[in-house]
């Protein structure tokens, strides 16, 4: 399936990525090429085939509900772009 500039704009918004007007045409073309490639999937009959999410069909392991990780807030916030009083800073969201 081919996508056009308006599809790209919608996808870019969903993915929180800016695509400039100049880049939108190129993106629409290259992404349409990729979708043309993957459209080959539509030709194959997959009736009754279960989707495969994990090569070994493994399921989530369970563990005891106990604390295993220490609090490392300072170590993790040391690499944050902006923090204050142990909190991450972002532009004001609520007036």
């Amino acid at each position: 399936m081919a996508v056009d500039r308006s599809d790209i704009a919608k996808l870019a918004t969903l993915a929180r990525i800016q695509i400039s007007d100049e880049a939108a045409d190129e993106a629409a073309k290259s992404i349409s090429d990729v979708l043309a490639l993957v459209d080959q999937l539509q030709a194959v009959n997959t009736d009754g085939v279960l989707p495969m999410a994990h090569p070994l069909d493994a399921v989530q392991r369970l563990r005891a509900d106990v604390v295993t990780e220490p609090n490392q807030r300072e170590a993790f916030q040391a690499i944050a772009p902006a923090t204050q009083d142990g909190l991450y800073l972002v532009p004001q969201v609520i007036e």
Partner: protein, 484 residues
């Protein structure tokens, strides 16, 4: 000293022929002198390496050191390393200092392995030529105007240029095996779940697997022994004992049943590459293996299925890069949405953005069933092809890549042409099977890789088959021209 294999380094360190400090300094000197040409390292950790080497020498002197103690290697810059920049070759993580070690990094630390530095790669491991790195492309030591392959191109070029005796790498659709092929190395991608993914920056979580680039199969076996482990911190890691991968290296191949899939020799395969693979089959026959034609009928659907599943998982995984907790943040965001939008747009390169958008498309309302769910069903058909083939053969053999290393820029304009570079490697990731590539000759003075695919957890058998080939041939001993 840089001619030594890992096996020889292990022996020499134990015999006190040289110290870890001497070996490490030798490699650091080579990197400083030669890597301007190749750009294979993003970060060289000279101080850490020499500290680790001194500690290793002390352990060796004390006489109770683990096998790999004192051996220097390089880590792909996808593995988190405490206190050291872990960039994933992205502007997004250019200033990211990892707060913890990846499990495989920790495993090697415990073994006394020395880290020389962090190697270049395609941004977030998305690429087959190492041209998407924010730190610039890596040159192939065999042909300086050609790509080293990707995404583990830096690890491959570093080992091929003898700037490291081996390197860690990761493989989501061929990112270990294809660079191994293009740089004349041995590269193994283990079974999905064999090696912990904890601390390995995620691209496509159901496909990503860490592995090794080395000069010989024996070296890969030695290194895999310490890389593989069960890790409760990775929920997809398999709880299964790690065998000694060196134990069966010298086993005879008499009676080994090798399957050759006809789908791997179709249109698009360079005829000279095909000839070298045919020659390799004759070598295996002479070693006592029997050759059987097999069919993997859904092979042509592997690349299409992959380019739904991998981008879908990538778009989900990379949503964590939001400019809030770590990574690149734009200047003076006017609101939260602007912070997300500009941080991500400035931090990600073109190929990463393309895959995020394709993934967002495949997962978006109205397209989920037609793309993502459909691709997951086709993925099961692809896996079933292998399960059926392994009913009658032990190992599957074919080319690793359709042709030898290509020139810079020759595929960057056409993403689909670049994606087809992984046509023979991708199905293995979709199925979760182990695969490796070993050198099998030269075309136009550039290396060609032979791919061996094994059954689940049959890494030992693959390494045995690769080692026996390397006992009978000398392709793996050839070095790039000018590499002394």
């Amino acid at each position: 000293m840089h001619q030594f294999t890992i096996a020889e380094l292990v022996k020499g360190l134990r015999n006190k022929d040289f110290s870890s400090t001497e070996v490490t300094q030798h490699y650091l000197d080579r990197i400083a002198r030669l890597d301007k040409t190749y750009n294979s390292f993003i970060t060289v950790t000279a101080d850490i390496a020499l500290q680790q080497a001194a500690a290793a020498d002390a352990r060796l002197a004390a006489g109770n050191a683990p096998a790999l103690c004192g051996v220097p290697i390089a880590h792909k810059d996808i593995f988190c390393t405490t206190g050291v920049r872990t960039s994933c070759a992205s502007k997004m993580l250019d200033k990211f200092i990892a707060p913890y070690n990846a499990t495989i990094v920790e495993n090697y630390l415990n073994s006394g392995v020395v880290m020389l530095g962090k190697t270049n790669m395609d941004e977030f491991a998305m690429g087959s030529s190492n041209e998407t790195s924010w730190y610039g492309p890596v040159k192939n030591p065999w042909a300086i105007d050609c790509v080293p392959g990707g995404s583990s191109g830096g690890s491959a070029a570093a080992v091929a240029a003898h700037l490291a005796p081996a390197a860690t790498a990761s493989d989501t659709g061929g990112s270990i095996r294809q660079p191994a092929a293009l740089c004349g190395l041995t590269g193994i991608k283990p079974t999905y779940g064999r090696v912990s993914r904890w601390g390995m920056i995620a691209f496509a979580s159901s496909l990503d697997q860490a592995g090794i680039l080395s000069r010989t199969a024996e070296d890969a076996a030695i290194l895999l022994n310490d890389m593989a482990s069960f890790d409760a911190k990775d929920s997809t890691c398999v709880e299964r004992e790690v065998p000694d991968y060196t134990a069966d290296l010298n086993k005879s191949l008499k009676g080994l049943r090798i399957g050759v899939p006809k789908e791997y020799f179709g249109e698009g395969l360079n005829p000279n590459t095909a000839q070298l693979v045919e020659d390799a089959i004759k070598v295996y026959e002479s070693l006592g293996a029997t050759i059987h034609s097999v069919s993997l009928p859904h092979t042509h659907l592997a690349v299409p299925a992959y380019y739904v599943i991998a981008p879908a998982e990538c778009s989900a995984n990379l949503s964590r890069f939001d400019g809030v907790r770590y990574g690149h943040r734009c200047e003076n965001p006017k609101d939260l949405n602007d912070l997300y939008m500009r941080s991500r747009s400035e931090g990600f390169g073109a190929e990463v953005k393309r895959r995020i958008l394709v993934g967002a498309y495949a997962l978006s309302a109205g397209y989920y069933d037609a793309y993502y769910s459909k691709a997951q069903k086709v993925r099961r058909l692809i896996k079933q092809d292998f399960v059926d083939a392994f009913e009658s053969v032990d190992v599957i053999l074919g080319p690793t890549s359709p042709s030898p290393a290509f020139q810079f820029g020759s595929k960057t304009k056409d993403p689909v042409a670049m994606y087809l570079e992984d046509i023979y490697t991708i199905a293995t990731n979709l199925a979760g099977l182990p695969g490796l590539s070993i050198p099998c000759g030269l075309v136009d003075n550039k290396p060609v890789g032979l791919q061996l695919i094994g059954n689940f957890f049959a890494e030992g058998q693959l390494l045995n088959a690769a080692h026996q080939f390397q006992q009978a041939t000398n392709f793996h001993q050839q070095s790039a021209p000018g590499i002394e």
